[in-house]
């Protein structure tokens, strides 16, 4: 067999081998958070947790978060809202509201999950809809975002945080959690 014939034959064979690759999708599964609160409401999404993925950066009303890598799953999303606070304003939010997606959110392999946070898709924002039940609130406050509520108690019925000492008024927020972040190792 002449070399050029061999080469041609081989290129065809290699192309045949490569063909299955064209159908292979190794795009990673991803997720983003969209804050669908009306800009006028000035409600930021402070943090979001879904399945195995944390969105640690606040998302202003009408904005979308950075894309994070995730894996296929179906789970509720949990979020902290910061009413009346904007990421650009600096400092800590004066108040945090714990919310949960109304339904489990799912994403298939190689797809992108868009977690839309709005009064229609999340429950627990006392200003816009029904409150969270106690179990969900406890899960969010004590396990999902414990740092945000360290040293304070959260009332899902009123969406108010009070210091554990019981002296009344709003408390909590990121500043209150600073000392608790590294504990427990």
């Amino acid at each position: 067999m002449r070399f050029d014939t061999r080469l041609r034959t081989s290129l065809v064979a290699l192309a045949t081998l490569l063909a299955p690759l064209a159908g292979c999708d190794d795009t990673p599964t991803t997720a983003v958070v969209t804050n669908a609160y009306a800009p006028a409401a000035a409600t930021s999404v402070f943090e979001v947790w879904w399945s195995t993925t944390l969105f640690p950066r606040p998302v202003a009303a009408g904005a979308t978060s950075e894309t994070e890598r995730t894996v296929p799953a179906s789970d509720f999303a949990y979020a902290l809202l910061a009413p009346g606070w904007s990421p650009e304003s600096g400092g800590a939010p004066p108040r945090l509201v714990a919310v949960r997606s109304a339904d489990p959110l799912s994403v298939a392999a190689h797809d992108r999950l868009r977690i839309v946070v709005s009064p229609d898709t999340f429950v627990g924002d006392c200003a816009t809809g029904p409150p969270l039940d106690e179990d969900d609130a406890q899960l969010i406050v004590e396990r999902i975002f414990p740092g945000a509520f360290a040293g304070a108690s959260y009332d899902p019925a009123t969406c108010r945080t009070t210091p554990a000492s019981g002296d009344g008024g709003d408390a909590g927020g990121p500043d209150a959690s600073a000392d608790a972040d590294q504990d427990g190792g």
Binding site: L17, D26, Q182, D183, G184, G185
Partner: protein, 821 residues
């Protein structure tokens, strides 16, 4: 006048018993012996009587070779009668061989082969000639070339022809030729594998010294784990031979050679230039990957120089939900110059860079609860990138026929960034426990040895003096991270570490049936640590003297039965991460190992090999897994005792079966009521299979059906948790034509769902109770897991669970190679 037949009419099979030849060299050698290979052969005169009666036959021969490869004596060990024996002996006397070599020096040896007489074949198209290499049989022969040597004496060499009968997708697959060595992948393809050998779960290589062409692969005081040995920078096709030793019995070996040592030897040249493309896929899981390979091996006429250039690119995704996307390139360039017949100079360059996403180790409870799938990930940001570039210069000179000088020097640069999350949300319930381990280093070193063989009366002496040195300039960091962004620095250190060693080995052979090796080595380690964030800095040094001795007796040396008995004793060591020397509590820089071994090796009927070894290894301290920061720490002294059994049987000249079993008991030397044994120490391993090679159509087909596995083992020192074992079955099929080769592998043929790397780790899932909170009524960490102890009873401090990397499901690999010249 007897009639002479053409080579094609009288097909001759000179089947070199490669391993057997080495094993039965005149003085059975615990040092790796490069077996002799056939250089020139003649064609026998077909016995007239047999020709007249249309008889065929095969004569088993045993030939004694001198150190030049000349045949000095030939004996018939399997007669065929009808004049075949005499004809075979006569032609074999005129064969010539490349002599066997021990550490490069030609030595006398004994080789067995069969000489087959075949009548002229019926008229049919003859297969085209395959590329012939010294020692290989001519086309059309039906022999198994890859006979594996035995290991009861802890030392042997495995040729590339053995690799070809197995699925080979990476260098790790090549290393599986080591009897008793089981490897599992760990968090994806970009990281070093996990090695199990002689009762060690050698986390990335702590007690297994790996090298290529003498350049160490293990990295001291590595950011991820002591002795981290990532072989991913090696293109598997460039490995010509693997030299394997077990135990600390060999003076030439220093750091990490406690359980064993493996040195891969790269090729000087390829027979053909080639291009290859491969695909890998796990149907139903993940995404396919590819591998491209190009090899150029140009000729330079009669110039005494050879060159090889090889390049590999690839992308692997694995079966994971979080595609691995392991993109990589590898280069191998080697120039070899023969200034004279007695000297060789070679320059080898190797480069590798890769990046990937790992899926981490999944807590078993997270999968059981349905939080993630079996191939899921809890922190999809795990993974990393790494690179290694090394240059090695080697010189070998034979000043006389009985002496050899070897000198080599190397320099390498290395980069490593690894993102991991072992404890999940235990330390930081808000941002998670993701960490980044950073390692930047330049290391350089060299080795020199001088060997001389001499005799005094009937006693022969083989003396080797050696020296080696290595320096590592290291910068390491440990960061808390989130989504691969740095949050806080945890550690940052500059480390300088220098090893210097000298060795002596005296081999004394007073008789053909007796040989003793005595010697040892002395090692000096000096080091400095500059801790940039804390006060754990300092300068220190340590040294160790390691005596070694071996005795080899051959009580039985008959044509159809040989038996070798071995006794070995030796001290060795592995170094510890020197950053720990200045930490609290401080660790010792060198951990002494003391090994003892009794072994036997037999070959029966020229087709059945048997080997057994009874060994013990005491280690002054153990490296143990620390899940908090993904590093290792040291433990109390340990003792391991074990039995290794091997057998290989060739029912036909083209088919071989083998089986390896190991049984090990591991424990702390002092009784601390940890009756379960050492965490993760393997108790039983097994491997074996069928492999063969046979002419098929215009080429040669090859195949192998192989299994390997490991038994259940304790995941914790107290044995409360178990790391379940597994058995994996692999299939390899291949067909080699003059111009192309096709290899088809199926890994995990039975699609078993088992675990690969495993660790008992205390971790916390995000939805589990907060650390320090009361444990809710009814809460459980799951089966084969338990609540981690803490300062206050009844409160939650994490779950100690068995975290694991899932084994690949049924995975298909296809590699097509086109030869260009």
């Amino acid at each position: 006048m007897p009639r002479r037949l053409s080579p094609l009419a009288a097909l001759v099979a000179a089947a070199l018993a490669v391993g057997g030849a080495a094993a039965r060299a005149q003085a059975p050698a615990p040092e790796p012996v490069e077996p002799p290979s056939l250089k020139e052969r003649g064609t026998a005169v077909y016995p007239p009587e047999a020709l007249a009666r249309r008889l065929e036959g095969a004569v088993g021969l045993e030939a004694d070779l001198d150190a030049t490869g000349r045949v000095v004596d030939v004996r018939v060990i399997t007669p065929a009668g009808h004049g075949f024996d005499e004809a075979a002996v006569e032609v074999a006397r005129h064969f010539s061989f490349e002599p066997a070599r021990r550490r490069g020096v030609p030595v006398a040896s004994t080789v067995r082969f069969s000489y087959e007489f075949h009548l002229p074949p019926p008229p049919q198209p003859l297969p085209p000639a395959l590329p012939e290499r010294a020692g290989a049989a001519p086309v059309g022969t039906t022999i198994v070339l890859g006979q594996r040597p035995l290991s009861a004496a802890s030392s042997f060499s495995v040729q590339d022809r053995d690799f070809q009968l197995r699925p080979i997708g990476s260098v790790q697959d090549i290393l599986r030729v080591t009897p008793g060595l089981v490897m599992v992948q760990h968090s994806g393809g970009g990281k070093a594998n996990q090695y199990f050998l002689r009762g060690f779960d050698a986390d990335h290589g702590t007690d297994l010294a790996l090298s290529i062409d003498g350049v160490p692969i293990n990295l001291v005081s590595h950011a991820h784990g002591q002795g981290f040995a990532d072989t991913n920078f090696i293109i598997p096709e460039v490995v010509e031979r693997v030299e394997i030793t077990k135990g600390p019995y060999f003076p030439s070996q220093g750091d990490f050679a406690t359980a064993g040592a493996v040195n891969m030897v790269s090729r000087e040249a390829f027979e053909h230039s080639s291009v290859a493309l491969g695909l890998v896929d796990s149907p139903g899981h993940g995404a396919a990957g590819y591998r491209g390979l190009a090899i150029a091996s140009p000729r330079f006429g009669d110039a005494p120089i050879s060159a090889t250039f090889a390049a590999e690119v690839g992308r692997t995704n694995g079966p994971f939900d979080n595609p691995e996307g392991w993109d990589r390139y590898k280069l191998f360039n080697k120039l070899t110059f023969h200034p004279s017949g007695a000297s060789t100079l070679s320059l080898t360059e190797m480069s590798y860079a890769g990046n990937w996403h790992g899926s981490g180790q999944l807590p078993a409870r997270a999968v059981a609860e349905g939080l993630v799938g079996r191939f899921g990930s809890i922190d999809p940001d795990e993974g990393g990138d790494t690179a290694r570039h090394q240059l090695a210069l080697a010189y070998r000179l034979h000043p006389t026929d009985t002496s050899e000088l070897r000198v080599m020097a190397y320099v390498a640069t290395y980069r490593f960034d690894l993102f991991s999350n072992f404890t999940l949300f235990l330390r930081d319930p808000d941002d998670g426990d993701e960490i980044e381990q950073v390692d930047r280093r330049t290391f350089y070193g060299g080795k020199a040895s001088y060997r001389i063989v001499h005799t005094l009366g009937r006693v022969s002496f083989d003396t080797t003096l050696g020296a080696d040195a290595r320096s590592d300039d290291i910068h390491e960091e440990l960061w808390d991270t989130l989504h691969r962004e740095r949050l806080a620095a945890v550690r940052s250190s500059d480390v300088h570490e220098t090893f210097m060693g000298a060795s002596l080995n005296e081999e004394i052979a007073p008789a053909r049936w007796l040989r003793a090796d005595v010697g040892g080595r002395v090692d000096l380690l000096s080091f400095s640590v500059d801790d940039r964030l804390a006060s754990a800095s300092g300068v220190d040094a340590a040294h160790q003297l390691s005596p070694k001795a071996s005795l080899v007796v051959t009580p039985l040396d008959r044509p159809r039965a040989t038996l070798d008995l071995y006794a070995n004793y030796g001290h060795g060591f592995h170094s510890n991460d020197v950053r720990g020397v200045f930490a609290t509590p401080a660790v010792t820089p060198l951990a002494r190992a003391k090994g003892e071994e009794l072994g036997a090796r037999a070959r029966l009927f020229d087709r059945w090999d048997l080997a057994a070894a009874l060994w013990r290894l005491d280690l002054a301290s153990e490296t143990v897994w620390n899940g908090d920061d993904g590093t290792t720490a040291v433990s109390d002294p340990t003792t391991r005792q074990g039995i290794e059994l091997e057998t290989r049987y060739e029912p036909t000249p083209w088919l071989a079966a083998d089986l390896e079993l190991t049984f090990t008991k591991s424990r702390f030397s002092t009784d601390r009521e940890n009756g379960g044994g050492l965490a993760l120490a393997p108790r039983q391993t097994w491997a074996g299979g069928l492999s063969g090679r046979h002419a098929l159509g215009p080429g040669v087909a090859r195949g192998g059906l192989r299994f390997y596995g490991i038994g259940d083992r304790p995941a914790t020192d107290d044995g409360a948790l178990t790391a379940p074992g597994f058995t994996q079955l692999d299939l390899h099929l291949g067909w080699r034509h003059r111009w192309f080769d096709v290899a088809f592998d199926v890994e995990n043929l039975l699609d078993g769902t088992f675990r690969s790397a495993q660790f008992a780790t205390v971790s916390r899932l995000r939805t589990e109770p907060a650390v320090g909170a009361p444990v809710p009524a009814g809460f459980s960490c799951g089966s084969n897991a338990r609540l981690a102890p803490g300062p206050t009873a009844g409160r939650f401090y994490g779950c100690e669970d068995v975290d694991y990397t899932p084994a690949y499901p049924l995975t298909i690999r296809l590699l097509a190679t086109l030869y260009l010249d």
